[in-house]
């Protein structure tokens, strides 16, 4: 498995955990009757900050752990394979395209709920939900292209 594939796998796991946390927290808010603007926007902030911090930390940790494992395996100075060639860039582009498509459909559906008379909070809740889902689907698409080719 290449460094890029490891990085995508870690990202996929992280965003799945973030999505799980988001859904559990939303369910708790609705159960407690605290589904209001203050709580929802606070949750927005937590999700966005968590996504940024976790992504940066995970990339650094993946680099370090890969280097350690490689050094143990080869008993030599580790070589970090973070060179992205044309195939990596192409897969990245295709993955980003998938992310944008899912994100756009999600954005449209979120706005549709507002048009159909739902409160704005529902729209904002769905926007961040589809944002995270789009990232997960994009990562899954990247992994698929690495594994199956195109």
């Amino acid at each position: 498995m290449s460094f890029q594939e490891k990085n995508i796998t870690v990202s996929l796991v992280n965003f799945s955990l973030i999505l799980g946390f988001y859904l559990i927290r939303l369910w708790q808010l609705t159960q407690q009757g605290n589904f209001n603007a203050g709580q929802v926007f606070r949750l927005w902030g937590i999700i966005i900050v968590a996504a940024v911090v976790v992504t940066i930390t995970a990339t650094i940790l993946t680099h370090i752990v890969s280097a350690i494992i490689q050094a143990i395996k080869t008993q030599a100075e580790p070589v970090i394979e973070d060179l992205a060639d044309e195939r990596d860039k192409f897969i990245e582009l295709k993955g980003t395209q998938v992310t944008y498509v899912v994100s756009s459909i999600g954005g449209f559906l979120a706005m549709l709920t507002f048009v159909l008379g739902q409160p704005p909070l529902v729209m904002f809740t769905l926007l961040i939900f589809f944002g995270v889902v789009a990232q997960i689907v994009g990562d899954a698409a990247r992994l698929y292209f690495y594994r199956k080719g195109f």
């Binding site: 044309e86 080719g149 195109f150």
Partner: protein
């Protein structure tokens, strides 16, 4: 229009170059080993520039490395 695919002889050419490793070829043409593996398995069609670089690495004309053949021929 009949379906075609880009086939290649990279594995064979590596063998005739004194069993050149995938890593050595990757370093010569400036890509990762995974990309060489993907090309050999027919999972990736390289750009025209990379195709020429591979031909240059083997010192053969590009048509000796790649062939645009009917998909049915190889299945």
């Amino acid at each position: 229009m009949s379906k075609r695919r880009l086939a290649n002889n990279i594995r064979k050419l590596r063998f005739f170059q004194g069993e050149m490793t995938q890593q050595q070829l990757a370093e010569k043409v400036g890509v990762t080993r995974q990309t060489i593996i993907a090309m050999e398995q027919g999972k990736y069609s390289p750009s025209l520039e990379l195709a020429f670089r591979i031909a240059l690495a083997f010192n053969v004309p590009i048509e000796e490395v790649f062939a645009y053949e009917l998909a049915e021929e190889t299945e």
